[in-house]
Symmetry: C2
Amino acid sequence: MNRRSLLKLVGRAGGTAAVFATMNAMGLLHHQATGMERPNLPTGSGTGVNVAILGAGLAGMTAAYELTKAGYNCTLLEARDRAGGRCWTIRAGDRIDESDSQQTCGFNQAEHLYLNPGPARIPYHHQGVLSYCKEFGVPMQVIVNENRAAYFQDDKAFGGQRMLNRRVVNDSRGYLSELLAKAINRNALDAEVSADDRERILTFVRSYGNLDADYLYKGSTRAGYATAPGAGTVAGDRYSPIDLSELLKSDFWQYKMHFAEGYHQAATMLEPVGGMDQIAKAFERRVGQFITYNAQVTQIRKTGSGTRIVYTNAAGNEQALDADFVICTLPLSVLANVDADFSPAVQQAIAVGAESYVKAMKIAFQADRRFWEEDDYIYGGISWTERDVTQVWYPSAGFQQPGGVLVAAYIWTNSIGEKLGALSPAQRLEAAIADVETIHPTLRQETYTAKGVSIAWDKVPYSQGGWIEWEGDSRSSVYPALTQADGPIYFAGEHLSYLTGWQEGAVLSAHQAVSGVAAQLQALQA
Amino acid sequence: MNRRSLLKLVGRAGGTAAVFATMNAMGLLHHQATGMERPNLPTGSGTGVNVAILGAGLAGMTAAYELTKAGYNCTLLEARDRAGGRCWTIRAGDRIDESDSQQTCGFNQAEHLYLNPGPARIPYHHQGVLSYCKEFGVPMQVIVNENRAAYFQDDKAFGGQRMLNRRVVNDSRGYLSELLAKAINRNALDAEVSADDRERILTFVRSYGNLDADYLYKGSTRAGYATAPGAGTVAGDRYSPIDLSELLKSDFWQYKMHFAEGYHQAATMLEPVGGMDQIAKAFERRVGQFITYNAQVTQIRKTGSGTRIVYTNAAGNEQALDADFVICTLPLSVLANVDADFSPAVQQAIAVGAESYVKAMKIAFQADRRFWEEDDYIYGGISWTERDVTQVWYPSAGFQQPGGVLVAAYIWTNSIGEKLGALSPAQRLEAAIADVETIHPTLRQETYTAKGVSIAWDKVPYSQGGWIEWEGDSRSSVYPALTQADGPIYFAGEHLSYLTGWQEGAVLSAHQAVSGVAAQLQALQA
């Protein structure tokens, strides 16, 4: 008796649940694909097989793209009237709907005047996303993440005055190096530093901190000039070093000063030319014909022969879609409210995950004058403040052109997201201006609230959160259940990865789900 | 008696030299302009005044642009058949002439396939250049200068194997922080760190180096992953930290690791879209009608009434140009060979300066496959090696597009420039490949020497060097003479600035020269 005949017998006796339990026991539901490589399914291998894909974000469209290439019949059910999900770009006239507010974007029309309300950066090593960008001809440009001309601001230090990034970073390096050199020269580290290494490490420390011949930090041109060097006899005057104890009063010295060394934040960071949604649109051009828009999933059923998806269509009527397999990419915060035949372990993982979404927010203004460039020579990058807005992003698109979109707040602390998210759109803009004025005092004169927009992701229907953060032991306790098939149902999306909050997680998890479907199909056909 | 009448009397009695000596004594030749601001001369203020501008590089064209706006009659004498000087871009079919060789660039034709053989970067604070780019509509993009995905290579460490930038940088930060934390915890720095600051500085150091709870460096995700995190259960494996004593064997720890903190090197660094010569071409569109090309200056004379320039024209005939003022932008290495009526102090400064030019070199290849992106995920930036080629630059233009130009050597050490410059173009390419293979082992297979070019700037006619470096006490001894007018003659160019080697120096020095001419004219007319 072959495997297929056996499973048929099991099915006749015990139904689908028994089939999948048997398959699971036989190891047929476990697949080893990491998702790092594209599935590369054999052409025609999916002919006659129906797959329902829930959600036409990057995960759903990646899955559809790979499966349809192999001949699968895919139907994507998308609750919105557009594809892309959080991979989205807001331009002049676009609508932002939250559960209790609507905004229309008042930016001027221009290629560089856009806001990526969701993901806005792609690290160089996110080769899943980048390989599709290359294949689809989506041109990429650098997004400046770390900019020495940007600022730090903390009400606890420097009287609340903004302080230049390059001064904070390089004076810190200087003091740190000076202290270490002193310790080495006092023989306090003889146990750690061999006599052989001692001279080399002192040379390094001097170079690292730009110390003088006596290993003292007396300031450095790295921190910049109060009066710039120029032509003729203008040699310039560099800044005096910031006082160490004043530096220590601030919280710049926490991760903010080092964030650009992070695995996902270090150069080179990229963005699609013209907005992040260029990626979604490129996918949509390839799989758009398989998408049913305005389709809100209400039920996910396991049937004897596969699955049945019930959804509300654009007309508000209930409709059903039968499929052999399901790839479910709905955020868990959304999925938790869908009536579904999931296993208890999956139900539990969804319930925990649904509560683990980040209340991320962005607030942005279009300015008609790029005052950050003209007045402060800031071309892209991020300023940091201890105030609620947390980060100010300067556009890496449209340098020196008329107008620009300033992200006046990027927030991922739940307590702040909750507080500002509760405000009306107009109140949020006011709150952001008040905070950002500490860095750019002319902000209020340079922008119009008519050209301001905000987004509180937890109030955005069909997203209900920025991204997931699996906290505490949930990675080891509940999360693993979602990485396995729940019968004919596979899960994908950024929440199904160790790259949560990144599009790469969506793409790689889609690869895994696709490989899972193909493996299960092969097992069933064996 | 007014000033003008007095000077006329002096002139009648003692000639031009006496006039200028008198003016100098009266303080009329000293002007305070720093060059940071544009001269903004009154419209029409130069009507009827003739200015000869020697050299149509950025300094000469900036001067011509500002002077002609004010009504001056300018004539630019340019030895080449193109404007821009070292602000130049090499593309398919372009010729590179050196004193003993000719090359024709074999790159394919494409907008992103170019080499900037001279200046290739513009720091964000070089607002002189950038303001013209803005005014002229020259679009700017980011040039990646520091890239954590690039490499260091040193034959003295790691068996000569390339080592990832982010590992070197972040493991160094870790060790440095761990050592400092130990010293603080051993009370070795109690004199420097107050009890109040102690906890904050320890918190800082832990954050700086990504230390564990015991202040030990056990590696960090900042250094990257040997196996990247991905979808499902793929949590990834980060690199083990590099051994401290092995790190110390290398010379990475000299300035190479810190260069991107430099005043002129820190983010954001910019480049014109499509090549640096877009700036020269933008200037040329505005002042090209005043340029006499193929005009090689042979004499600079002071006459009773102003100046006379003698030059060899395109037909090889000697020609003369009379002018009220001269702005001389020729590199001192070139100017030293021109027969000129300069003061002894100026002659001496030129002689010293002529010997102070950097033997800068670049060697570049077009590859048909961007293997550095496809195989190593390097998007722009620089790898460093202790070998002769010094730096490998990856293009920041044309990400993910077909083909790219790799700068396989950027050299500014005179001894290396001399050694490699002495080789034939073909031999230089071979030498570069041998060095760069230590970082990119497939280089030889990926490139063709037919698509390789090199430039040794000291062998380039009309440049004779990369840029000036005023060394030792020459800044205080001979240099100041050039910052003053030598009678009706002013000097400009990167060599007339504290920004030598940067286009900004050329532009700002041109502003100073223009202000000098205008001030002298005003004084004469007073």
